[in-house]
């Protein structure tokens, strides 16, 4: 679903990736990373979809939360697996959300 986020300013991490054909632990690890991120200090929500590319946007209270999540031990292992096995290409973009609007259900 569309993440319910507080009024700006807050932060977003846009992770765009192209998968390899290697599935080794991919789904389990993805699910576990979402579970851990949701418990992490400063996590506000996330949105995810994959077709030709996968896009996962996670939302965070501040840059310090993003930095801490990037360094979380299980997440470091997952990032290494990602680089070595699951992703043919990826890009991570750290952003400050300055303004938002929309209609939510």
């Amino acid at each position: 679903m569309i993440a319910t986020t507080p009024p700006p300013p807050y932060f977003a991490v846009i992770f765009t990736s192209v998968r390899t054909e290697v599935d080794e632990n991919y789904t389990e690890t993805s699910t576990e990373m979402v579970r851990l991120a949701e418990q992490h200090a400063g996590y506000l929500g996330h949105e995810s979809a994959r077709e030709e590319v996968g896009i996962t946007v996670s939302y965070w209270k501040d840059l310090e939360s993003i930095r801490a999540w990037k360094q979380q031990t299980d997440h470091l292992v997952a990032q290494k697996m990602g680089r070595e096995k699951w992703y043919a290409a990826y890009k991570t973009r750290i952003c400050a959300v300055e303004r938002d609007y929309g209609v939510q259900i």
Copy 2:
């Protein structure tokens, strides 16, 4: 594909949406909006995927380009169709990309 963007700072518009079942002109208009955006001053690239939610991230040189694209005539018509027909819910987030890294093919 993953958008090839210049070194930060640049800007991102994260558009997350949930579709209705109304398809009236949706695909044609989407294709046309991508074509027009690609020609618009300040456009840097975009990424898009849809599963339960659709996520389209477009990248821009500056806020002025984003503002001008939002007000582009054909895009205004498409936005109105979006609100009235195609989207059950949506959220637009305007962001400053502060940092990025990754491996691209």
